[in-house]
């Protein structure tokens, strides 16, 4: 009897002993499980990264309903990307990029904002007793270009399965510091939308004619940042060079760095521009899908009418909110930009995809930026 119990325990243990994580480049097909890629996986109650997988973060990230994001990049042995000044790096075929969306758990089955968490806070992995994993998106560079695959985590948080048609996940977000008059925390119910693979192109096909998918965050200005990880402090670009993933990196004074949108030591304008660039610039650029509007919010576009200053809308429809200028200098409450970034109505909101909640902290920044502009449209 005792032996049988031991045997069962041993069997159970062996069943639970996972294979070591080994990243793989899968050159074709649609891998059904996130585990097939071997880049990230659950081990001992944590989401961990395989050896050789480099986590990274951005100076200013895209807002996604307050989700935290764990980003990774991996390349086959001996391969490396080539540095580019403005665009996504030139990545070799075989590169696998992942982004895991998660929320810290909060009371009563709700979740808390994770967007303030940094690599230094989460360390080498995510403690699943404290966070809820939602989805992991894989972007892989194949011989015929980049391909995108969204994987949705199961309820037991043991694995994630390909969901090419996307998924709508009802959630409730409890935000610290927000209480009603009885001191009860205020929470927001929302539908988290996992994008379908065509919608991945809605953001990642930054050239709307070429239609090829490209990474958005993996650019010099977003990655040029000091981070602390496992007790060590380093610049992320230097680290990519050190691990052999990047070549051609010029010295720091030959690079342009996007500010952290939350960095109060930086003037309002560059902070607002950094937020607009990462949240809007992939569509609102001279080559992006939103070039139909004549409104360019990418980092490379100049200030002026094309940034929305005094600019009348073209085809905003009800997205005008009743206002007649994209940015009415000095008047944030009469600016279409404020209205659309603050709206959660699918027919009016911007960005069109990727959020169901408004990014209140960024709205406060945009408001200060516009309010500080000299008023008037001569």
């Amino acid at each position: 009897m005792k032996r049988l119990v031991l045997l069962l325990v041993a069997l159970a243990l062996s069943a639970c002993t996972p294979r070591p994580l080994t990243p793989r480049f899968i050159a074709e097909g649609m891998p059904e499980k996130l585990a097939d890629w071997g880049v990230v996986g659950v081990r001992a109650g944590h989401l961990v990264l395989a050896d050789g997988v480099q986590p990274y973060e951005l100076n200013t990230p895209l807002f996604s309903d307050y989700a935290g994001k764990l980003r990774t990049v991996w390349m086959p042995k001996g391969q490396s990307a080539t540095w580019k000044p403005d665009t996504a790096f030139d990545f070799p075929v075989g590169t696998v990029v992942t982004k895991t969306f998660y929320y810290p758990k909060a009371a009563d089955g709700t979740v808390a904002p994770g967007d303030n968490l940094r690599l230094g806070d989460t360390g080498a992995g995510l403690d699943l007793s404290r966070v809820r994993l939602v989805e992991t998106r894989v972007l892989v560079h194949r011989a015929n270009g980049w391909a995108a695959f969204p994987y949705v985590w199961n309820d037991t948080q043991t694995g994630a399965t390909l969901k090419r048609i996307g998924q709508a996940i009802p959630m409730t977000l409890t935000r610290p510091g927000r209480t009603d008059r009885f001191d009860h925390p205020v929470s927001s119910r929302f539908i988290y939308q996992v994008p379908n693979v065509n919608q991945c192109a809605g953001c990642h096909a930054t050239d709307h004619v070429a239609k090829a998918l490209l990474p958005i965050g993996l650019k010099s200005r977003h990655l040029d940042r000091e981070v602390t990880l496992a007790g060590a402090r380093f610049n992320q670009l230097d680290r990519l060079v050190m691990v052999g993933y990047l070549k051609g990196l010029p010295p720091a004074d030959g690079r342009v760095r996007a500010p952290d949108w939350r960095d109060e030591s930086v003037p309002l304008e560059p902070r607002a521009r950094a937020w607009l660039d990462i949240n809007c610039g992939h569509c609102h650029s001279p080559k992006g899908p939103a070039d139909t509007s004549g409104l360019y919010l990418d980092a490379a576009s100049p200030a002026g009418a094309s940034l929305g200053l005094c600019k009348p809308p073209v085809a905003a429809g009800q997205g005008t909110g009743g206002f007649s200028r994209d940015i009415d200098p000095g008047k944030p409450d009469q600016s279409i930009l404020m209205f659309r970034t603050g709206s959660t109505d699918p027919g009016a909101m911007m960005p069109e995809l990727g959020r169901a909640l408004a990014h209140d902290e960024a709205l406060a920044l945009l408001r200060r930026w516009i309010a500080a502009m000299p008023p008037g449209c001569p």
Binding site: N198, G317, T320, P346
Partner: protein, 429 residues
């Protein structure tokens, strides 16, 4: 006496029928919608490859998120615009019902109802066919309705035919920044703008019905865009009774269009309007205007390269029936009364009078850039907007000139212009 009553009752009956028609044709969505089909459809759209035909059987399908298609060479085909209905009434995400970024795309025989944003948007692509598609907001005209019904933008070689657009809070059929376009035999009702051609080059718009919109057919140029529009022909259309109060969201371009506008040109060039039936539009049957008149002009926010003057406009051989008797807005009402008396009407053509003096030749408008109205007895009023309406005047003889007719547009899928004119009938109440 009795006869008077009869007439009054007759008028009431017609008014009642119109009010019912205002509710649109929501009948299609009355059946209990199928909520599970959307996943099948999304999967098909994702897996679509060139040459694929995605067939959607008859039925009403509830869709709660925006659909999108990226693959070239795909056809989406329903069983009829009143049989296959994609209902977005419960849409929680997505700025369009269906968003397409693809070439060689055909969509036909289905309806897109109650999208939260635009109904169908085709953004960038060549050889686009939209045929027998109905885009409708079923609750009648409302500011909260989506902006555009059928919305191709930045496309080349476009055919929109035999389609229906109802209830858009901006334009029912909106062709933006496109080239080589045929829009024919469509019905646009109860939209702010029935059909709008904007920053588009080489368009033929014919055999359409535009009625009960705020403005029937619009040909506009907007600033700050990469291309400006020119060369549009509007012919053989019926543009009648476009008197629905403007329900566009303030700040949008069409929010400046007065209710009761038949055909409206704004800042566009080389527009030829001929052989149409235009009437019963209470502000004016035809309006020729500049961006200066929209109220949106400012030096800072409008690119200096933008040309706001409507030039080379040729209006001839239309059949006008009375309009202009009840223009929208106090200014136009005052203008009507001042010029034509309490019971008088604005003439068929209302022109704001802006001309670009920089392009003058020998101190006068270059004849090649003129506004020409050679339409029998039709009168033109120059509202003298550049001088704050100080001296509005009928300018019949001064604008009686002719321009070289524009060539026909050739879109392969459309073939030649049919000899027989077939304009759709208004929707049934």
């Amino acid at each position: 006496m009795g006869r008077g009553w009869n007439r009054a009752l007759g008028a009431l009956t017609i008014a009642g029928a119109l009010a019912l028609a205002g509710c649109g044709q929501g009948g299609g969505s009355a059946a209990k919608p199928n909520t599970t089909y959307q996943e099948t459809l999304i999967q098909q759209l994702i897996d679509a490859k060139p040459g694929d035909v995605i067939t959607i059987p008859a039925g009403v399908y509830a869709i709660d998120r925006g659909l999108s298609l990226d693959a070239d060479g795909v056809t989406i085909r329903g069983a009829g615009m009143d049989k296959t209905v994609l209902s977005f009434k419960g849409q929680a995400a997505g700025a369009e019902g269906l968003l397409v970024n693809a070439s060689n795309f055909t969509i036909e025989d289905l309806a897109i109802e109650d999208a939260k944003g635009d109904g169908l948007k085709v953004n960038e692509g060549e050889n686009i066919i939209i045929r027998r598609v109905r885009a409708e907001w079923t609750g009648g005209p409302k500011t909260s309705n989506g902006a555009y019904g059928l919305y191709p933008v930045q496309v080349r070689n476009l055919l929109i035919e035999d389609s229906v657009a109802i209830g858009a809070s901006d334009a029912g059929i909106y062709v933006g920044q496109s080239n080589n376009v045929v829009v024919r035999r469509n019905r646009a009702e109860f939209n702010v703008a029935g059909i709008e051609i904007e920053n588009t080059q080489n368009a033929d718009v014919y055999d359409n019905l535009a009625t009960n919109n705020t403005g029937g057919i619009l040909v506009f140029n907007m600033p700050n865009l990469k291309v400006s529009g020119f060369a549009t022909r509007i012919f053989r259309n019926r543009v009648e009774g476009n008197n629905t109060g403007n329900f566009g969201r303030k700040g949008s371009a069409v929010a400046s269009v007065p209710a009761g506008s038949g055909v409206v040109i704004n800042s566009n060039d080389q527009v030829e309007i001929f052989d149409n039936d235009i009437g019963g539009n209470n502000t004016a049957n035809v309006i020729i205007s500049s961006y200066f008149s929209t109220g949106y002009m400012n030096r800072e926010g409008v690119a200096p390269t933008f040309d706001p003057w409507p030039e080379a406009i040729f209006i001839h051989d239309n059949r006008f029936t009375p309009g202009g008797n009840k223009p929208d807005g106090l200014d136009l009402q005052a203008l009507r009364v001042a010029k034509f008396g309490v019971t008088g009407s604005l003439p068929d053509v209302l022109w704001d009078g802006y001309v670009d003096v920089k392009k003058f030749k020998d101190g006068k408008v270059d004849p090649a850039l003129a506004v020409c109205v050679d339409n029998g007895a039709a009168q033109t009023l120059n509202a003298d907007a550049p001088h704050k309406h100080k001296s509005p005047a009928l300018v019949g003889d001064a604008v009686r000139c002719r321009l070289t007719p524009l060539p026909a547009i050739s879109v392969a899928a459309a073939g030649p212009i049919p000899a027989e004119r077939k304009v759709p009938a208004p929707g049934k109440p």
